[in-house]
């Protein structure tokens, strides 16, 4: 995706210090149109500092942020209009209605009164708040406020959406709705920068993930690329009836299987990609009349990657 589509965001050598603490240390990455890039790291890793520099509200000590090749800084205005920023805090005015909140920020983005009204109506529909548009935000549920909060970042049809932990403190149902929304936005061609300390969200949403720790980007790539960096393999555990030795021989003949070991009344297979090779394994066993009673797949996840890269758990 990054090679075929135009680059929307480019961060080069970003550095930021706060007194004696280096919050961000030489971080570089790019995001292409239609790509969702996740910054994954624990609290305090530097994700929000990076996001703040990308959004042009924090000046880096060194490095550049370019949106479609145009530098972003705290003093520039034009490139900020291409960015939709959704900060971590629930940045809505509780004493204004949903429509008033959206209209205010739409007008700040430079939209005319008419254009703002049109975009507000559209965004209210996108975030599912049309029916409650004229209620004050203080009367919204937490999930509704969070949706309004995200909607504010979409008003001016940005080409880059920057989301800083958008599901923090949200109930599972609302979280799913928000993630579905974000996925749809990515499919519409929006470039998305997404920070989270939830491994599941990064795996579910992001095309590529940058693992950040203590201000440094320690690794980046697709989930599979990151797992491959560590030389990890997927494991398939099978509970089988009948001759275990025969079943082991059959499994070993499947091309994608790297290794087989008998464990109690079952087999443990080491493979490159469990999801891809599982059908072939089950088919081969079925042809040899080996009855499989249970299957368990164990894929190394980003939590494992983070643990290996930093020596610490993601949510420590």
């Amino acid at each position: 995706m990054t090679t075929d589509t135009p680059e929307v965001l480019s961060c080069k050598g970003l550095r930021k210090r706060f007194d004696d603490v280096t919050a961000v240390d030489d971080v570089s990455f790019t995001i292409a149109a239609g790509e969702t890039y996740g910054l994954l790291g624990p609290n305090g890793a530097g994700k929000t500092t990076i996001i703040s520099m990308v959004a042009g509200i924090l000046r880096p000590d060194a490095g550049d942020v370019l949106v479609e090749g145009v530098p972003v800084s705290t003093r520039t205005t034009e490139p900020k209009g291409r960015i939709g920023y959704v900060p971590q805090e629930l940045a809505v005015y509780p004493d204004l209605t949903g429509r008033e909140n959206l209209t205010f920020f739409a007008r700040l983005q430079g939209l005319s009164r008419v254009a703002a009204a049109r975009r507000v109506a559209h965004v209210l529909g996108v975030v599912g708040l049309t029916d409650r548009a004229d209620d004050r935000a203080e009367h919204y549920s937490g999930g509704m406020r969070r949706r309004l909060h995200i909607g504010m970042g979409l008003l001016h049809e940005p080409i880059l959406l920057v989301l800083d932990e958008p599901t923090a403190g949200v109930d599972p149902q609302s979280r799913n709705a928000i993630m579905d929304n974000i996925r749809e936005l990515a499919h519409s061609g929006l470039a998305i920068l997404y920070t989270t300390h939830y491994m599941e969200e990064a795996e579910r949403l992001c095309d590529r993930v940058g693992v950040i720790d203590a201000g440094r980007l320690v690794a980046e790539g697709t989930r599979r690329e990151l797992v491959a960096l560590l030389g990890e393999r997927d494991r398939i555990s099978l509970s089988v009836d009948g001759d275990l030795g025969h079943a082991e021989d059959v499994a070993r003949l499947v091309p994608a299987v790297l290794g087989v070991a008998a464990r109690g009344r079952g087999l443990e297979l080491l493979v490159h990609d469990a999801r891809q090779c599982l059908p072939a394994v089950l088919s081969a066993l079925a042809e040899e009349d080996v009855r499989v009673r249970a299957v368990e797949v164990d894929e190394p996840n980003l939590e494992t990657v983070f643990l290996h890269l930093t020596g610490r758990a993601l949510r420590g």
């Binding site: 509200i57 205005t77 900020k80 940045a91 204004l96 700040l108 504010m152």
Partner: protein, 389 residues
């Protein structure tokens, strides 16, 4: 500028929904106006503040000078009214009933005692709940009896020189002669505000320092709520955010003060002066107040902290500047120190304006503008990190 106006419009909408701003811009000023009208309303009407009765049990010529010349002359200014009681008992009853503040009682043989060179006293019986009015009555009486001492000397000198005229008539004429040394009366309207206007103006400038807080401290609220980050991520100049907050303070402060000016004029009869001059002072006063509270806000970390500090500053400057009592009249170092308070300049400007010349407010307006410029400059230097300028 467009972004600043949008921010100010949003803030004002929020403030209108925030009851605290209504309290500071409408309820408190109007409430104070009502209290002032009750307490000082009589003064504003120009009469009936100190109501006196006089009982003349003497009936002589010297007593008549007091009842028919001294008291009527004093009441011409509108500060007192005098009614005649038919007897000492009636005068005392009027005081007891609260119908008058105090009563002057000229005892029998008052004139004769003056003629005989003996001590003659005008008794003053006052309402215990009206010490100020009683004190004024006592001053009037003492002033007259002090003059009688010189009258006695004058009469004695005339008789010794061979005058054949009636001593009582001579004494009455001497007592009624104006003092040779009189204080030259500078028209009070040129340098002094009447009490009603003074306290109305003092309260208005005092509350001004609270009303303008809403704009500048909302920047701290925005930071806490996370909306400041969103504002700064918008395609606007960071300075637009500060300017928007400034406009909010100016509008709230100007409207609040205008309401108080109108309310005190209507309810209390306060005489603020020429509208153009008042407008200049109000605008520069609002700017000065906003500048001062902006400095305080730029030093605070939270809006609650800023509110506390600003209250201390507002009360201190208000007391020093004469919002509660006319410090300038005390004189000495305190009057000089009071010049560091914008309140002092605001009140001084109004006093200068009382003469009728609008240009007279310019020195005070200049001082208030200087307060504003220093305040904004300091706040900018201290607070620019807040908006990453």
């Amino acid at each position: 500028m467009r972004a600043s106006l949008l921010i100010a419009a949003k803030d004002l909408r929020q403030r209108l929904r925030d009851r605290s701003v209504l309290v500071f811009t409408l309820v408190l000023p109007l409430g104070l106006g009502l209290v002032f009208s009750l307490v000082l309303g009589d003064l504003a009407d120009g009469n009936d503040v100190f109501r006196y009765a006089v009982a003349d049990a003497d009936g002589g010529q010297v007593a008549a000078v007091f009842t028919h010349q001294v008291l009527p002359a004093a009441s011409e200014g509108g500060a007192i009214t005098v009614r005649t009681a038919s007897s000492t008992q009636e005068a005392l009853r009027l005081v007891d009933d609260g119908d008058v503040t105090a009563a002057f009682i000229l005892p029998p043989a008052f004139t004769a005692r003056v003629m005989a060179g003996q001590e003659a006293v005008i008794e003053v019986v006052g309402d215990v709940d009206a010490p100020l009015g009683t004190g004024v009555a006592r001053s009037l009486a003492e002033s007259f009896t002090a003059r009688l001492t010189s009258v006695r000397v004058s009469v004695a000198a005339a008789l010794r020189a061979g005058s054949t005229r009636d001593p009582a008539r001579l004494a009455a004429e001497a007592a009624s002669v104006p003092d040779p040394l009189r204080q030259v009366e500078i028209p009070a309207s040129r340098r002094e505000l009447d009490a009603t206007t003074y306290y109305a103006a003092g309260m208005s400038v005092f509350f001004l320092f609270f009303t303008v807080q809403f704009g500048v401290t909302s920047l701290l609220d925005e930071r806490r709520a996370g909306t400041l980050a969103r504002l700064l991520a918008s395609p606007i100049r960071p300075l637009s955010v500060l300017l928007g907050k400034l406009i909010t303070s100016l509008v709230v402060g100007t409207v609040g003060t205008a309401v108080l000016v109108a309310a005190t004029s209507v309810l209390m009869g306060a005489r603020w002066g020429h509208p153009v001059g008042v407008g200049i002072l109000v605008l520069t006063g609002v700017l000065a107040a906003t500048g001062v509270v902006a400095v305080v806000a730029s030093l605070a970390r939270t809006s609650e902290q800023a509110g506390g500090w600003q209250a201390v500053v507002a009360i201190s400057l208000g007391a020093l500047g004469g919002a509660f009592f006319p410090v300038a009249q005390v004189g000495g170092p305190l009057a000089v120190i009071s010049l560091v308070s914008p309140h002092r300049w605001f009140l001084r400007g109004l006093a200068d304006l009382a003469g009728g010349d609008v240009r007279a407010v310019l020195p005070s307006a200049g001082a208030l503008t200087a307060f504003a410029l220093v305040g904004f400059g300091t706040a900018y230097l201290l607070g620019r990190r807040e908006v990453r300028l």
